[in-house]
Amino acid sequence: MAVLFAVAPWVGLYPVFVMKVLCFALFACAFNLLIGFGGLLSFGHAMFLGTAGYVSAHAAKEWGLPPELAILAGTAASAALGVVTGLIAIRRQGIYFAMITLAIAQMMFFFYLQAPFTHGEDGIQAVPRGRLFGVLDLSQPMAMYYTVLAIFLFGFLVVYRAIHSPFGQVLKAIRENEPRAISLGYDAERYKLLAFVLSATLSGLAGATKALVFQLASLTDVHWTMSGEVVLMVLLGGMGTIFGPVVGALVIITLENYLAPFGQWVTIITGLIFVVCVLAFRRGIVGEFAAWMERRRARPGG
């Protein structure tokens, strides 16, 4: 996959498009960590994407911080927000968890709408990309591209490591049977909170990077439609699979790119994909593919 993305701009793909896919793929991977392995459906993840975007854009533009520190600042802000939101939201389970995260995200949306530093509807525009570590000029498309790729791979590996660590196993155990995990001596709430904060932090990393790529932080990234979008990416790609979120992000961003001229059709088709996925396609693209491979292997002599 890393090779595929590394050569993508050389085979005629528009770098900005691939960078957008990478940012959303990281966002979706972070989200998948929570829903796919922790069983927690957050309907407010846009707040982490957007918060980090605003903070890093503000840091880069108004404080003149170099890009690496701006990204770090944005990510840290999302992590802090993740701790606060997580502490409140994990008090309730299942559907309530979704509604609470949604409501808190909506609160953040109104906060950013009114706060002066976000410039309301205009957003923070013309964010300077700066020089990475003082040497690499990120206004060069290719330099920016490989930086984004490196950030994505870093985030992806963090998620991969987390899932395949004892922590990830305990998380799965809690998802499957919380009372039993508690009876085995695991502090379920702490594990869930940790997963939530980790997910929020990586979403923040995606948001901060996205703000530098597009040199823009706007209200779109904190709106609830964005929260819905990341749910859709993960659902379509395959919840609880490693590569599912990446595939889902690629498909959805491509779709949006091509459908952009048709206005509201994006919303309608997005909604339809949701309905079809839930009714007939719950394992997602990667999940169904894996199941199909499994069936093939199980067939004797096949």
């Binding site: 299942g94 609160m107 609830w224 997005t270």
Partner: protein, 295 residues
Amino acid sequence: MTEILGVPTQALFGQLLIGLINGSFYAMLSLGLAVIFGLLNIINFTHGAQYMMGAFAAWFLLNKAGIGYWWSLLIAPLAVGLTGVVVERTMLARLYKLDHLYGLLLTFGLALVIQGVFRNEFGASGLPYRIPEELTGGYNLGFMFLPKYRAWVIVASVVVCLATWYVIERTKLGAYLRAATENPALVQSFGVNVPRMITLTYGFGVGLAALAGVMAAPIYQVNPLMGADLIIVVFAVVVIGGMGSIMGSIVTGFLLGIVEGLTKVFYPEASNTVIFVIMVIVLILRPAGLFGRER
């Protein structure tokens, strides 16, 4: 002009009235959500879209069929409720055995589809719907002017809410409903057709949303996105009230509407967020909600 706490009484009562109106809609919508959740265990994300469909149904009836407000109050909820029945039978019914989150995702997708289709047809700007003739004008109460239509909305929604409460808590039908909420298998074994009851309950909840939509049409404009942001506030109302109790969601709805109205007077910057802030505080102090019980 008289003042209370440094605020002109006119402004104060004006905002209180707006708060009460908003509260009426919060109450009716969260009531529908609570009834649906009780039996189906599904959070109906389409609720806001169905509220919008109710308003559009009223607009259609008036402008295409010449049917006025009063008949719309009956026809629109029935029509939209019927679409709810179809949705339940064809889609939601397949999800009951799965994790409840799928119901949320499905209804979210449906809401996107419905809102997208209406926006395609009607754009994002609102369509006006005039107040029925019988309810134009208003009363001068001395300290404020009370438009007749707004008084009607408040009274009507209180009546609707109380009637729903009465049916669920005090009649035999409601007893079946509450029993099925506790243990559907047992109720079914007594010969009650539980699947049909579930279908009708969903239809009823949806109809209630549509009724709220019709009542809202003359106040807010008829707009494809009128329910999109509202539903999130109603979710917060539901979390604050706790979904265990019918009366709880009614009282919380009205109460929060008033709180929101008052915030607009005393600290306008926070009026959009006050309900969410209250939600956070309630969650910290009483995670089950004000009237809810843990389950």
